[in-house]
Symmetry: C2
Subunit: 258 residues, 2 copies
């Protein structure tokens, strides 16, 4: 397929690379910043552009892969008819694109991407949605050339899926950052805790999180929890987080009120 890539961030970079490796042709890469467009375009053997009016109409698919809150602005500047346009965002509904395009959809890869880290795209779940059956078939086929896990997810579900992803990825990463800070305060290396982080995430590949919950809150160890809160005296926000998360773990085991 001939594909136009709008954006040059983490998702655009990984998705572009996966599509090119699967044999598709990326014809243009747009970025607000021409240098960023040029960098990614060079790698993808595409033409870099920084003006949305330069988007070539001879394309099979336009992928808008910019920050969630920029999708609509970018879409409003693309004046092409008869081209399928998708975005790659978790939190933006398909309706946002329907205001501007007759046939459109969503092509949302559920993963956390960093430019500096390689990743096997085949294991990335791709959530797709579209305005019509033809587009759906096209997106499904395209998705399957790069991922083993392509699923239909509607806009309402995707909103919740994106929220769940924040709880499963962004927030745990922030808790890792707190752990790193605590260790460094006491002259301990973050390396010490890396196997624990990996095993915690590995466990829930085979079990439900609620089945493998451990720790002081799980075993109602009030003495340890009190000692931990005391250790956090200088960090009232972390203390508040500790309390709220522990209360949540305790509540998880309680039967719901009748």
């Amino acid at each position: 397929m001939r594909i136009t890539l709008i954006g040059s961030g983490n998702v655009a970079t990984h998705l572009g690379a996966a599509l090119k490796n699967a044999g598709h042709q990326i014809i243009q890469v747009w970025s607000r910043n021409l240098q960023n467009a040029a960098l990614l375009a060079y790698y993808l053997k595409a033409e870099p552009v920084d003006d949305l009016s330069e988007i070539c109409p001879e394309t099979d698919l336009i992928i808008i892969s910019v920050k969630d809150d920029a999708v609509e602005t970018v879409a409003s500047f693309i004046h092409l008819k008869n081209v399928l346009v998708v975005h790659t965002c978790g939190s933006v509904s398909m309706q946002t694109l329907e205001k501007y395009f007759d046939t459109c959809g969503v092509f949302y890869p559920l993963q956390t991407f960093s430019k500096m880290r390689e990743l096997d795209f085949r294991s990335v779940p791709l959530c797709i949605e579209s305005t019509d059956k033809n587009s759906m078939a096209l997106l499904l086929g395209l998705g399957q050339t790069i991922s083993n896990n392509v699923t239909y997810i509607d806009s309402a579900q995707r909103k919740t899926l994106h929220l769940a992803a924040v709880f499963a990825c962004n927030f745990p990463n922030f808790l890792y950052a707190i752990a790193a800070d605590l260790l460094s305060e006491q002259q301990m290396d973050f390396n010490l805790i890396k196997p624990l982080i990996l095993e915690t995430a590995s466990k829930v590949q085979s079990f439900l999180p609620a089945e493998v919950q451990t720790g002081p809150a799980k075993r109602r160890d009030m003495q340890t929890m009190a000692a931990h809160l005391e250790l956090l005296q200088q960090q009232p926000e972390w203390q508040q987080l500790y309390t709220l998360l522990s209360q949540g773990i305790i509540k998880m085991d309680e039967p719901p009120l009748a």
Copy 2:
């Protein structure tokens, strides 16, 4: 070495198995519940006991591997002299054992254990501490027979390390449970989000968490955050968590006040 194991929980089970596999002899397994003692003892080819006065004095090392808040009670019932006694708990200081034994120490494996899950003990960091040089040498040597990562960590550091482990393991697992709940409410499978969880934990094996933080809070996407809070209207505790964690991520990037 001839080793006595006090406890039959997750840690005792994994540690006992690792020690036995490394060629050490587990001579007795104690549990409050004789059936539990018998189960683990059978597997370790040891004698099960449920009375601490039956602990055989002809042992090189007694490992107390019970819940953190039970260590002191158990220790107070072991009336043996000239035997090295260690515990395996993150949150219990060595001083707790010094009240009852002349030579003692700590042998703390920093990992989350479940009986139903196998684990390569060689990758588990072992944190050791002891009252004297001889015991330290013995524990270091013993540790190295089962782990590639044996480190001296004093009681003050270990307290913080244990707290960091709660932030790096127990709390992320609870957030995974919230994600699972959100998905199931919208008829989506937890499988969808498993690659994301694993990649998030894998990333911080090579980068510091603060370097790879992503998500709406990181990019100050107020619109998405507001939409997420609205989705959580029926779960005020999760809403509160969402706010607190997002504020923490935003604050992480701010320069500290002068």
